[in-house]
Symmetry: C2
Subunit: 314 residues, 2 copies
Amino acid sequence: MQMDRVKISDSEPQPVLIVGSVGYDDIETPYGKDERILGGSASYACLSSSYFAPTRMVAVVGNDFADEDFKRLNSHGIDITGLQVDKSGPTFTWSGKYLENFNQRETLDIQLNVFENFKPVLPDDQKDTRYVLLGNIHPALQAHVLDELKAPDVFVAADTIDLWLTIERPAFLELLKRIDLLVINDSESELLTGESNIIKAGAACRALGPDKVVVKKGEHGAYFFYEGGLFALPAYPVTELRDPTGAGDTFLGAVMGTLAAMDKRDVDSIKTALLYGTAVASLTVEAFSCHRLESGGAETIETRVAELREMISL
Amino acid sequence: MQMDRVKISDSEPQPVLIVGSVGYDDIETPYGKDERILGGSASYACLSSSYFAPTRMVAVVGNDFADEDFKRLNSHGIDITGLQVDKSGPTFTWSGKYLENFNQRETLDIQLNVFENFKPVLPDDQKDTRYVLLGNIHPALQAHVLDELKAPDVFVAADTIDLWLTIERPAFLELLKRIDLLVINDSESELLTGESNIIKAGAACRALGPDKVVVKKGEHGAYFFYEGGLFALPAYPVTELRDPTGAGDTFLGAVMGTLAAMDKRDVDSIKTALLYGTAVASLTVEAFSCHRLESGGAETIETRVAELREMISL
């Protein structure tokens, strides 16, 4: 079906392929709690990307994945050819709690379930995708996706979490040599490089491989490090923060969707894409799960991008 | 003497009058410690403002204030006609320690000394100053300076600290109705308004009186709240943080100096002034006391402002 797309350019949007997790979350924040809500890096990133470009999801769900949730993905026009349904067990679940100021998150429980034996399989006709987002999963699986890709000019972005930087560091360092854009948060950049100063950490990340690096600072925005330069972007001024889960995945999904819509990956285009990423991420945090992300709509996204442009205009 | 001025505009810079403290600090940071170093809100703010405009200091020192320190103020061309020398006792002293991440500061000792009986006296020929910075001192003293001012179109900026928001709240709330620009940090904005969300806190500060409000976020930059708008500015990307003392005073000194140099106080001019404030503050934090602020020079400031402009350019 046709999505309510954000109009980025006159050219035909290129497809984006996104690999990551799909799961059910139990989440508690200072504002409330909700159970068994659609979550996972691929869910947020695909719903976000789909505002900009045709989006291909590569992930796995179990025997309990609800029809309603398939419909949610469908209603955003997401191509789920690469979404495996593993009947041998239930879908991945995560349970977490945010402490008072939202700055700290505690994982209460993780059940990998069908995710434990997941190996991403790219449909043959998706192997030539030129915009690929490696969402947070085991770096060996991220590398496996790269092995399957065939486009000579593929642009690859990757995210990760502190877990892999700790227990799978060598594999992640190998992966870094093969990607174009790394997007991680500030504490992860310190864990990866040993630098507590974010400016030094960003430069050190680039020295590990990726030509372009974005370090996210949550409510304080993000830094984009590129050859010879630095771009600083504020967060969208959210006043009704409800649940930050998925903000980073949403951000990167919109960044890649925007780049695919423009079919560009130069520094200036990435700066523009970061504005869209910021705007869409601000939707995600205003409600639990993907609800506000799904309902936000192209017009709201465009309004927020215009506000962000104004916020940094001299 | 003639200062190494930053060239802001072709018009003649207007004078800036700055009231605040001058003191000797003992400071310990994760990088080292230093004793009996020149500090105080007026010292930092005046040295900073003097890069842009003729600067008039209103403050007090005691019988132990060193000739060398008078010379430091003189060599920056600061008019010390309004600097009282109280022979009855020693200069104000402050002793503080920064904890590991620089985000927390502990006051170890304060000796008010001659500051205890300080009452600012404005030289008659300075009462018509049109750019006035009320640095952090007791709000009753800040109000007293306002009472002395005569220019019908004076532009007044004020800073404070959490202490006054706690023990002199009514006096500070009265002051707020009389100033044009409030500049405080994020924790102070929460203490003042009860809003933990910085966007709501900034709006709530404006509702208390000042038409224009800047909320500083340290390494994360600052927000400027004005009628119908919001401007977000990153911090200068400092990689060699040594001692953050005086950064806020330096910031505001340069903001007011820039506005006086342009003789403008509209929203766009304040945005530009905030860039200069950010650039000069980045000098202060690179060394203990005012040393790097004093030696930085106009050319370095201009280079850093250019870098900041580039950092927010799409």
